[in-house]
């Protein structure tokens, strides 16, 4: 930490700062410039992390030098983490595509979608059984019935299952049916649930909060890893901006940022990230070109009758066409799909 004293700080103010640091076994390193003094703080990182100096007289501001997360940081774990989900590997040489309907509506809908996406190359089936909805009057999902449908269809077609968890009480039941548990944007800082997921044996896909900074997102993943669960992947799903043409603004620079700052895999969600069917294919291509390890895409056999998010769902035919293009991009990136 660096403490910037104000131009008007007195000798006494500076002494008081130094004394407070020394009382905590920290060392102060003073740089005295023309109109102000800067105090560098040296010592135990945890002590520094909990230090509050801004209220002291003569202190103008403090600047934190180091981020608090460690387990998720590439600094401490330089090589890429590869997450194994059965025989599917996320974070390795193969781009993994997760696809399926936004919400599970019926066995037939899931079956029809799953067959189509499997044929086009998807390895993981997605679908919501517990839906977090803005209004209590919206369709809230089929619950366990939905989980059963996903599992049955996936087993039949040799797919893995990813589905959202919205309540820590559901960890056990969802773990019974799903291979990857997804934490949605609204729960990115539901710290109690993150802690509980740290104790669960399943890989976690942590979506970025609607307006979460990259640093907050990494800290949220730290909550899971600190509990012992090392199989965490991030998912960029668009952030909230003032733009209204798209539902969210898919931030692909976050893909590059995560690759730089963390060893964990990163997934992109162009469906929620744009909210517009026509944009899913171009943004999927762009996500892979930016370095994403995986994609999660909404596909619905009949998007015009979907119970949620029909606007952003691809038809199986759209999806097939998109996958063909993605092969070429993956190849340029030295990967397969």
């Amino acid at each position: 930490m660096i403490i910037v004293m104000s131009p008007g700080a007195t000798r006494e103010n500076i002494d008081a700062v130094v004394k407070k640091l020394e009382k905590r076994n920290l060392r102060a390193h003073l740089s005295t410039g023309e109109d102000r003094t800067i105090v560098g703080v040296i010592g135990d990182k945890k002590t520094i992390a909990n230090l509050e100096m801004n209220m002291m007289d003569g202190v103008e501001k403090t600047v934190r030098i180091t981020e608090k997360y460690k387990l998720v940081s590439r600094d401490f774990h330089p090589q890429d983490t590869i997450i194994k989900v059965g025989d599917v590997e996320i974070g390795g040489k193969e781009i993994v595509v997760m696809a399926g309907p936004c919400a599970v509506e019926s066995f037939e809908q899931v079956r029809e979608t799953a067959e189509a996406v499997k044929k086009s190359g998807a390895k993981i089936l997605r679908g919501g059984a517990f839906k977090p909805r803005t209004s209590p009057y919206d369709f809230q999902g089929l619950g366990e019935e939905g989980l059963k449908i996903l599992r049955t269809v996936a087993d039949e077609l040799n797919l893995k299952v990813v589905t959202e968890i919205v309540d820590k009480d559901d960890i056990e039941i969802i773990s019974e049916y799903a291979d990857i548990l997804q934490v949605g944007a609204r729960n990115m800082q539901n710290f109690q649930m993150l802690k509980a997921l740290g104790k669960c044996g399943k890989p976690i896909m942590l979506k970025r909060g609607l307006s979460a900074t990259i640093s907050e997102w990494l800290n949220a993943a730290e909550y899971i890893m600190i509990g012992g669960n090392e199989n965490v992947m991030f998912c960029e799903r668009g952030i909230r901006t003032y733009e209204t043409f798209t539902r969210n603004t898919l931030d692909l620079s976050a893909v590059a940022a995560i690759k730089e700052l963390s060893h964990l895999p990163i997934v992109a969600d162009p469906s929620h990230g744009t909210g517009r069917r026509k944009m899913v294919a171009p943004m999927s291509r762009a996500a892979i070109a930016a370095g994403a390890d995986a994609l999660i895409v909404e596909v619905h056999p009949h998007p015009e009758v979907a119970l949620s998010d029909g606007d952003q769902s691809l038809t199986p035919a759209d999806f097939q066409k998109m996958m063909e293009d993605l092969h070429g991009i993956a190849k340029v990136m030295g990967k397969t799909i």
Copy 2:
């Protein structure tokens, strides 16, 4: 709902739209302009709420006319709701001030703060026992021990207690000690917790999410009210913008907006809303002038040693001075404090 057909929509496209509506017992009202047709949808509101038309051929976009929330809406409940917390009334003629430390650290700290704020006119003691923190390495609160301290001190001084709940499993224990349960910004769309709070007998203070729209905030309150709990108050605590001088941007127009759209009381939090001690007094005055029913303010006897958020805490002396100014503003608003 209004369905805007694209300029290139064919007669068949329009017929298909009308047919889909009629199958759902809705009526279509066509306006045919120079280059496009607009379809007004008339009929049962719930059916319309679940209608997805954007994917149909020839449909350019749809416009929703009505919001989904009802119980929180002033349209259906024109007079102001007053929430009774013992003999304290929130939403009435008196501006209620909640004050206390960000986090409960010790009995002495809470006792000293409570005495001071009580003397200056606060009616409700605030303090966090369960703290949601960005990093798992930050101080997470004293838990039940903190709740006991709050209750003991409050009873002694005849104050009420408001404290944050971060886990639906804690409803029972917090209800034992606190008079108002606060839902923090990060949990505004923790729908499982909102549903559970709808069944609890305590007043709820629902903070606005970091980047929640006013409509989403109202819908979140609807989740609580639909469960039977009518004692919900909103709390504006600053939204996330690009500005870095302040910690958040306190959006006082949201105070006026809530007053227009809902009958429920609105509280302002200038401490988290600005993150800067010097701004707490001016923004408190402004909040009351904008129509806020209550304030929640951080006060710490020794902010320079606070375990969290010291930068934004007032000293008891600052608080006392601020309260004097607030009397004048309240009076102009036809209220007392």
Copy 3:
């Protein structure tokens, strides 16, 4: 400036940094911690301001300690600046209200509005003759004809005139008719115009850009002051956020921030800041309570037929009612209106 070296920086990297600083006659102050070295840079401020160090090997990031603006800063000019516009003083004990239509449409419209606002206590007449409009198909203003109307009416009623300038070529002609030249949000960083206004003898009202940080806003004012024009006032008119219920988000914490960081007066514009007629009165009260020196408010005798921004214009009767409340708030602030 502080240079943060990465944990992996070598002795050679640090030496190279120090050498680069010394070549520029700057001194380096090293603080060597457990896993990294921090370099404090001491010396001539202008040299430091132009220093680029981030690209050097081993440098993780740099932190600027001081802002670049000086003339606008309260650090260098502790007492409040009062701007004299004839016998009207902005920044002193009196809250000044500027009022009038968004756009000048006709002599009758301006005359009727001006009479009404004068009667209610406004001192300055506002009105746009040159309108910056998002679409080239929108009404662009009456031009010089509009300026003449403003001047004639103002002289008759002993009011001052504030009007927007959108082109530096218009400085001369607008200066002939107006008392204060307003720089709109879209031109806050039209640096060529700011430089030219620095040479003009009229007070300038500098609106905040749609998404300008407070620091950028202060730097923009520095462009004007550096040219010799010391009569600059700021105007907060709402920033762009994701919220759609209001047209912009009026950031009243910016009022408090400007008061802290600068000696120049600050005006609030609740009309553009909210875009909703019902919100103008509460936000005007709040602005004064937050410390604003002046208000600028849109009033139109018949807002339903206004050629621009009718939605946010008060009627003369609304305005009269609002002014009555403002007296009380001003009094609490130790001011008059």
Copy 4:
């Protein structure tokens, strides 16, 4: 336009609305639902564009159906526009790369950079001679001297020149030296300059404003096209969000959006868009994969001594390596580079 009446609107309110429309030769189409009436407005588009109805009694809100821009719209010009700059075509089968230093500093610097980028495949030389800088104390560019350097070097190497214009008075002089005139983000709504550029014979590259919506951006281009200049290309350069790890948030969904809404070419600027050297290559690849027609990239032979924006400049070696990857992505898109 659609006018939504409030639930409490009276028969008289509705009649008044209809009468106002009829007086303007517009037709009203009424849809009467359970609790409210919706009025569709039919007739001359320009009349509707200028209609203000929100202030009328009983009107809850109005919804505009059509955007105001026309010349830039793909609806009215379905095939892609290709802009010819000598023998270079932007918007066609070839991805065009513009590269060079942020600011022109010296002949040697430009010469060295230009040779390197030419060798790697760039067709257009970029470089700022007139720099818009946040602070008046920052380096403002070499002016005409800089333009001469650009032209001399470009002619020698058979490159085209793109450079920024910050003042409409400079159109003539910049047109003498440059092939494409760039309007920077801060001037996107400098409408006087846009109008003047509409009369100039050179292609214009219009950067997106810091927080401009896509609709505002398209309207800004309309200001240029309406003057007769049809050679307008857009440039996405990152928008302002709350994220601080990147300088801006490069919005690649805007690339897809422009392709959908307009026939004009779109350029991406990953250098300003991210502000981080390491992110330029991944975001360049992503931009092409999203459908961009061209890239503009900062390259500096010695970024560590650059007078501006060194942090985001590639070295010639970085640039060479990036270009190799881009060929593969372009090929997947059916293009060359």
